[in-house]
Symmetry: C2
Subunit: 250 residues, 2 copies
């Protein structure tokens, strides 16, 4: 069989249940945010929707975490959707992950309403009106709100979720108000949240949030997640999220 990856691409081992992913060597590559989101999302319910899957990283990890899940993964950029689809084939997950190359703003034409247990999204971090330009178009689309806003994401999530279904997102901590306010406005009430701090005494830089469709107000904060310990290595909790063995050496 010919290799799945194309010139300029590389197959990376996710070090988890034998999963592998195809990524560009120079374009958009998945980051810790995707792994944190997969670890934070509720691993329950068979119907999972990933809004803006990019390389497919979150969908692949969720397929590994929740072996009962069937995942629909939307990606607007054709070259990224193609790469994600090849990663799905590489992992023999064609029956469990569908990659749709589509704009999530067209959710009403694409998806059935109220069918999903869990929706995940690692949305563009930066408001369309701020931030410096990313070096490649695929990076720019993944990082800036060119192709969708938080409003678009929440609207699609609300449409797709079952009553009481969960939506999990990760965002830069400075956009906390944008995200919480947007979710509430779209009737996906933020119920569980967690700040991520690079080090124990450093300012949090990422926020994980889980909302429940038609949930009641009341947010449970989990203890802050610290990435690096005082010894400069990943903390045990972060290693557990990455499914690293204790003796991996960090």
């Amino acid at each position: 069989m010919a290799p799945m990856e194309r010139p300029g691409e590389h197959v990376d081992d996710l070090m988890f249940k034998g999963l592998r992913i195809i990524q560009s060597r120079t374009g958009f590559r998945y980051g810790m945010d995707a792994v944190l989101l997969a670890g934070f999302a509720r691993p329950r319910g068979a119907g999972v929707l990933d809004l803006g899957t990019g390389t497919g990283i979150v969908a692949l990890l969720l397929a590994g975490i929740n072996e009962a899940a069937h995942i629909t993964a939307l990606e607007i950029q054709p070259e990224m959707a193609d790469m994600a689809r090849r990663s799905v084939r590489l992992n023999h997950l064609e029956r469990r992950i569908d990659v749709l190359c589509a704009d999530l703003r067209a959710h009403k034409e694409l998806l059935q309403a109220g069918q999903y247990d869990v929706v995940v999204c690692n949305p563009p971090y930066t408001r369309a009106d701020e931030g410096s330009a990313s070096p490649t178009k695929s990076q720019a689309m993944a990082r800036h709100e060119h192709s969708c806003t938080l409003d678009d994401v929440a609207q699609a999530g609300y449409y797709a979720l079952k009553y009481g279904g969960y939506m999990a997102l990760i965002i830069r901590a400075q956009r906390t108000v944008d995200l919480l306010e947007t979710l509430r406005r779209h009737k996906i009430e933020p119920k569980r949240a967690r700040l991520v701090c690079p080090r124990r005494a450093s300012p949090p830089n990422l926020l994980l949030v889980e909302g429940i469709k038609h949930g009641k107000p009341g947010l449970l904060w989990e203890p802050p997640l610290v990435v690096f310990g005082d010894d400069g290595r990943y903390t045990p909790e972060l290693r557990a999220i990455y499914h690293m063995e204790e003796d991996d050496g960090g």
Copy 2:
């Protein structure tokens, strides 16, 4: 001179700049939240407004922290306002703290618009529609939204603040969305926030937020504040907020 305190009251030493406070022995007594709020609020600007001062604790602490401040302190309950006023006299701060017995919802009749640099509020923690009844009426009014909601507080703050002025609040962490969303809706954009964790690995239970009138979106999270160290004593940072000497013995 006759003692300032009345039967059933006690004078407590704030252990900071010689300040003392009169409190009921059995009714509402100030808690750590008040001290955290005073430590978090920006100690700048001469015009300070304390919405719902209760015993006067935050106003007294702010008078000690910022010696240039003139503080207007509103309190709706006559017996609490009287107690706060007596604490002001006890500390010879009559020229720097005015206690008004008034409903903050009447802010337009009470206060000049756009005159304050800093507004602080330790609002009722519990939504009017939830929580168990407090044992006394003064406790109930201080803890539940019987006399004002977050909306009332934000409206009064917006009215009173100068353009670019700061509003600082503390609330139970589970009301994070209520507070952030309310402030933004009233054009007091949350700009700085901090979660308070009882212990390093425990879920945060309090949230400190500072908003800026007409500020731009973008929230800076400070590192989480941990109350108790692994040794069971207050952490050095908490001790600093309480202005405790290192050799106080915790």
